[in-house]
Subunit: 142 residues, 3 copies
């Protein structure tokens, strides 16, 4: 049984440019790069979305149509142009972000994400296009 | 690279009184207070909701209307009075809580929550009014 | 204030056989068993679902009808046979899994899950029956 070692005093920040109002952007490669730079072999990575109209999730990254199905179904259930109290015209984006969630915790194994073969990590843009950030913290075994 | 130090052997418990059946209660200040009392400068905080008809989420805390839009949209999609199997009359609350989620992990930076400028942490009440608890654990760098 | 000790270099994997297309399987006892075997008294457990058509959530485990209400409501909101782009016929399962989430973090107290009296941990099957895995990592106080 080893103890824990914290890899960096700093939150690592990944910048993501989104192109559409609603879009799932695959950030798996960027996350893998941060893990590689950390030199951590085994541990845990906390992925955090600091925005209130965007979120983070994990899902299939082989077929783009899955990502389109997710955003289109959310748009059908929570329409952009329904009647809302909030006056900025992006209530749907806040609701989707609150539901999808702002944090996911994943495992690191052998210096890489230890996750399912078909899984990718996505920034979920619900009020783009914008420049967004995803923040990560890595904890390593010693 | 520093290692980790666990701030307290105890789970910290925050008590929240809700006033309505459905309500999002901003618990950001209470969470900040626990972080301040811990004396932790940098680390991670795990926020947990121990209830099955309430949840925890992160979203905008500047404009109350966003919170109303979230609860009203959930009430439209998952009505209180639809036909359900569960006989206690609060199935909608269980479904909303399962979807919204029971845990969020956030970062601590400079002795405060390191999160987005517009973000707040909310207890989501779906079957109130009740007295609820939110549990937190803080892990600090050494 | 104690520091942290990592309980195992390995991700612990729990195998779950699902019986239906949509089903919530209570994995609380299996998680408790892993905690018991670890010998950890206090700490945190990260529960992770490595699949893209299944998820993990926490909710009531006393009355089975709650679980049925959750899967039936999701099936009403996100129908299996709606029109989707993804050609494998399981888009609804991907959408439900992305929304429900792939990770939950819970506390360990006194050698057991420190969570609400009515709470259980569930694998949410959305495209079964299949053999699934749930992965966990435990971090212990020293």
């Amino acid at each position: 049984m080893g103890s824990l070692q914290y890899n960096s005093q700093m939150i690592q920040k990944i910048t993501v440019s989104t192109k559409k109002r609603q879009q799932m952007v695959d950030i798996t490669a960027a996350i893998q790069k941060v893990i590689g730079q950390s030199g951590v072999d085994d541990g845990i990575i906390h992925v955090y979305c600091p925005h209130t109209t965007a979120a983070v999730t994990v899902n299939e990254n082989c077929d783009d149509s899955v990502q389109r199905d997710i955003t289109e179904t959310l748009a059908r259930l929570i329409p952009h142009d329904a009647e809302y109290s909030h006056s900025e015209g992006n209530s749907d984006a806040h609701i989707k972000a609150a539901l999808m969630g702002s944090s996911r915790s994943l495992f690191i194994e052998g210096g890489k994400l230890g996750f399912g073969s078909w899984q990718g990590i996505f920034l979920c843009e619900f009020d783009g296009p914008r420049t967004r950030e995803i923040w990560v913290k890595i904890y390593a075994e010693r």
